[in-house]
Amino acid sequence: MAAYRNTPGFQRVLHAVKHVCFSKQRCGVIICRYSTVYDPNEKVSLIIRVIKTCKKMGIKTVAVHSDVDSSAVHVKVADEAVCVGPAPTSKSYLNMDAIMNAIKQTGAQAVHPGYGFLSENKEFAKRLAAEGVTFIGPDTHAIQAMGDKIESKLIAKAAKVNTIPGFDGVVKDAEEAVKIAGEIGYPVMIKASAGGGGKGMRIAWNDEETREGFRFSSQEALSSFGDDRLLIEKFIDNPRHIEIQVLADKHGDALWLNERECSIQRRNQKVVEEAPSTFLDPDTRRAMGEQAVSLANAVKYSSAGTVEFLVDSKKNFYFLEMNTRLQVEHPITECITGLDLVQQMIRIAKGYKLQHKQSDIPINGWAVESRVYAEDPYKSFGLPSIGRLSQYQEPLDLPNVRVDSGIQEGSDISIYYDPMISKLVTYGKTREEALKKMEDALDNYVIRGVTHNIPLLREIIVHPRFVSGDISTKFLPEVYPDGFKGHMLTAGERRELLATAAALYVAAQLRSQKFLGDLRVSVVPAESRQWELCVELDKGVHMLGVSRSGNNYTVEIDGEKVEVSGEWNLASALLPITINGKHRTLQCLLRTAAGEISLQYLGTSFKLRVLSNLAASLSKHMPEKVPEDTSSILRSPMPGSVVAVSVKPGDNVAEGQEICVIEAMKMQNSMTAAKTAKVKSVHCKAGDTVGEGDLLVELE
């Protein structure tokens, strides 16, 4: 450390910024008490993102970490790392003395605080100032003003920003909520004053839902933010979520860097984002941008920030909230404007004036971002899943693809964190090109060991409504009213899938007959052979004829011929092949000796069984295994902790009645009875940690 502090060229090169990244991750239970809910994967990916820019700018970086994070990715990529204490955050990342020591010890000249933690702590800001250390990010006053929804709305109103009609104050209780809702008119939205990211947010269409929503939201708000104050506002039905990126310096100048459309959401959390929006015309864009800038000016904002708006079908827009941090979706703005937002933040922190004028800000091409989550998309568009990433490979060898992540092969995804794996960004000259790249990128993204939402992402980006730009925040429930079921195969796609599985099966069979240097193996006349196979897919059974010439297979299915060729590398997670002249990348997820083959095709994983005709015909004699009756058993749909159990053995429950509440990733889920019955046994109690599929309650 001392070595390069004394290097003469050092000060010159880096404008005297040495940079400490504070992170908190993989350190046990997170208690989210700050203005935003964030997750450590995201945090680490942000830190890595910051470090990348610092490297580009010639700035040395220091990562601070707790004992248990010493092998985390951000620690590896930073130039130096300082351990600030043991795993509990109060002893490490929240330990101001330890962090000040780290700053002194390394001679750091600037601090990037990450989110939360010390980023809003006035005392910390004061101590940094006393040491002459630069704080990268907006000042605490702006963060606090914008972090509080009630205050921010008042400021926005004063700055002549369009706001949603609603009640400008804290709602005392459920009955007051009902009264106010009546005044504003249904539907209304109840949300946590301290909230963000969709936590503690409920929509109510009538009085009863208002009461229930009030109860849930205040509980969630309390557990997520340690603050149960709620507010109510008019709910804009079928809106689009469009936000403006702003950049403001310490000299009172501010810019808007165009918009990002983040309408594709599930449970109020963003899933797919793009920039620019297909919906905005230049006038609306300018109007929104100007209001965003005036809000930034109103709070003397400096650094990068985001002003979120709801836009209705008539292009009326309403201020939602302002995010005072670098957002997850910032890369798409960087793609279309060519600016490095982290670099701009560092410049601003150093007190430089903005480099650009508003007229310098372009919209070049189109960028799309998919949030890749460790979630099961077949349950409510995404319930958290956990596990160890046994294989992990980002599609980085594709051009115009960017992946921001904080994980690596071998990382554990646990119930204590938001389950984001990465942000996958593709860029193209046109929207069509960017979306096509996204298809390829998703097909080439290898994630094993945890359930992930690539099936859903892959479906969204090719859906006709999405492709035509006809979207709103209601997109998912409208398009999939009965829940997401995966890709629905057309007859042609089905044939492609069957043919691929058959060819893969034959390739594997042929390889298992190849013994190197063994003279005692009889030569199998494989080359001349034809295969008669029986392939099962979704209870449908198909008889296939396969013939082979080198790596090319001709598969005959119901009279139609499908040509499949490829390398047939049986060790690779990716299966790049050509089907009837079309290039496709599939993934082989499973291949067993008993003929089971799972393929990821068009994002969705399909289970097939390939058997020789003989094995298939004999299989019909096999006894059927009786599956468990699930209507009388309540299992946890996801890993999490039990918040409350509302029944005891012997109770009578009605169908749909709440039995218990499971919380994971700060989301509460009410578990209900599948039928009217008597409770036989209860296998969990409040405070328990449960895994996915764990038995909770048995009914008679």
Binding site: S71, F515, S522, A594, P623
Partner: protein
């Protein structure tokens, strides 16, 4: 000429059939076993017939059948009647190919006298076993038999003994595999028990010395067939069976897969198949798998899967003595045997069951030229009266013995703990380990820091400081490395590359033990 022959034959035919016609008739009868009704009954039980099983197990058109015309020789209790004679009797025998490699097989036919073992049946089985040993090819037995042919009395018992003797003679000469696909009771169970691997089919196979009725009359225990000797019992509780499969088709397809790991005999090298997985593939996940706290568990299978070709691991006894993991896999196409302590179960300690499980596996590998890779994370032998009374000294010695006598290539990777006697046992350098590695997280010591400090610094104040000193001194790979007890300390992510390279070098390893009639493993 042919015409004359047929004419001539017809003259001598008892039933006025030509020899050719009789051949055809017998063959046809042999192919239908106990007849269509019994075949239908067999199917109804969810089981395939003896011949269907062989068809599925062997390469198409590769089966060469022996003794199709053999019939039982019993003349008591009306057994001599024509309708009680079945060509081939209650077993189908012969040889065939699995993926082009020779294998001898016998498949008991439940549709003929419930697959019961007659003198003729035993003779047929012995014939294929004798030939298998002569030419050096594995024997696979598909068991589905009600037991002895009671009508034949001691003839049947003699038959069992003849088979047992051959099982013992063939042991260590050719691999022997038993797949239990129906009942297997009484004396019959000892043939599978003597073979190298016993697999079972879930819900349709049973193995026991005496059935539930006898159990009830002798010990007054109420127990079902399934509980007494079903696949679950033997793969989780008794350790008699090595693995269970869902049904006949599943079992036979898996058996084909399994067969590819095995050499044909003790004179043949372990097979090498074409491998698509790069031999020098880094495994980045391994660098972070061992938790920072040495008391925290992790899954040894994550390491094993990461290192192997295509993450493919044929685990042996996956549900029994789970604190040790054993099974077959390939490294750069070459068959290897994997042994690993499982920190996830009972901290990976060695106890009676895991020692025996490990020892038998190691001895199989050694007998059949299969290199052994051992992953070590062992806190020691499990303490307690249950273990001591159970003979942990005797059983633990088996594993020690097996590793020590093995002369196949032995590579060891210490991932974390290698404590006490268990360190010695787990294929240590001292037991002729060829290449022994330690990961940086390795702790090779007599015991954990806490226990050691309590002994070394008994009565001293400031135990915490002493503990820190001990950790600094011993809870790392250096004490072993400076003495050459580990050959190198390696970056975990490079483990696969190292192992593949070493296996290639060690392929020509030659080592012999002193001449002896046979060794005396502490049984």
């Amino acid at each position: 000429y042919r015409g004359w022959c047929l004419q001539n034959a017809r003259c001598y035919s008892v039933n006025h059939l030509s020899v050719q016609e009789r051949i055809e008739k017998k063959r046809k009868a042999a192919l239908t076993g106990g007849g269509q009704l019994r075949i239908a009954a067999q199917h109804k039980r969810g089981k395939l017939t003896a011949r269907e099983r062989l068809e599925l197990l062997l390469d198409p058109d590769s089966f060469v059948e022996y003794d199709m015309f053999v019939e039982h020789r019993c003349s008591d209790f009306g057994m001599e009647a024509d309708h009680n004679k079945y060509p081939g009797d209650s077993v189908v025998t012969g040889q065939g190919r699995i993926n082009g490699r020779l294998v001898y097989v016998f498949s008991q036919d439940f549709t003929v006298f419930g697959g019961s073992l007659s003198g003729a049946h035993a003779q047929k089985v012995c014939k294929v076993m004798d030939q298998a040993m002569m030419v050096g090819a594995p024997v696979i037995g598909l068991n589905d038999s009600g037991g002895a042919r009671i009508q034949e009395g001691v003839e049947s018992l003699a038959g069992y003994a003849d088979i047992f003797l051959r099982n013992v003679m063939a042991s260590g000469v050719v691999p022997q595999i038993s797949l239990i696909m129906g009942p297997c009771a009484g004396g019959a169970v000892y043939s599978p028990a003597l073979t190298d691997f016993t697999f079972m089919v879930k819900d349709t196979s049973y193995l026991f010395i005496t059935g539930p009725d006898v159990v009830k009359s002798v010990t007054n225990e109420d127990v079902t067939q399934e509980e007494l000797g079903g696949a679950k019992t033997h793969t989780t509780v008794s350790g008699v069976a090595h693995r269970a499969f869902e049904n006949d088709v599943d079992a036979l397809l898996n058996l084909r897969d399994f067969f590819n790991f095995l050499p044909l005999s003790n004179k043949d090298p372990a097979p090498v198949t074409e491998c698509h997985d790069p031999r020098d593939r880094p495994v980045p996940g391994l660098d972070t798998i061992v938790p920072f706290e040495s008391t925290k568990a992790y899954d040894m299978l994550d390491i094993v899967h990461g290192v192997l070709d295509e993450r493919e691991f044929f685990e042996i006894m996956p549900n029994y003595a789970k604190n040790i993991v054993v099974g077959f896999a390939r490294m750069n196409g070459r068959t290897v045997g994997i042994v690993g302590n499982q920190p996830k179960v009972a901290s990976g300690c060695l106890d009676v069951n895991s020692s025996v499980k490990g020892a038998r596996f190691v001895r199989f590998c050694d007998a059949f030229n299969i290199p052994i890779i051992t992953f070590v994370d062992v806190p020691g032998f499990l303490p307690g009266t249950a273990q001591e009374y159970g003979g942990i000294i005797r059983h633990g010695a088996k594993l020690l013995y097996a590793f020590a006598e093995a002369t196949v290539p032995k590579i060891t990777v210490i991932t974390r703990k290698a404590y006490g006697g268990a360190y010695d046992v787990m294929s240590s350098k001292h037991l002729r380990g060829d290449v022994n590695y330690a990961w940086p997280s390795a702790e090779v010591a007599v015991m954990g820091a806490k226990g050691a400090v309590q002994i070394i610094f008994r009565g001293k104040e400031n135990q915490a400081e002493a503990e820190a000193e001990y950790v600094e001194k011993f809870a790392n790979p250096f004490p072993a490395a400076v003495r050459g007890f580990v050959d190198d300390i390696i970056q975990p992510s490079t483990t696969r590359k190292r192992l593949c390279r070493d296996l290639e070098v060690l392929a020509s390893k030659k080592q012999t033990n002193p001449w002896k009639k046979h060794a005396n493993i502490p049984l």
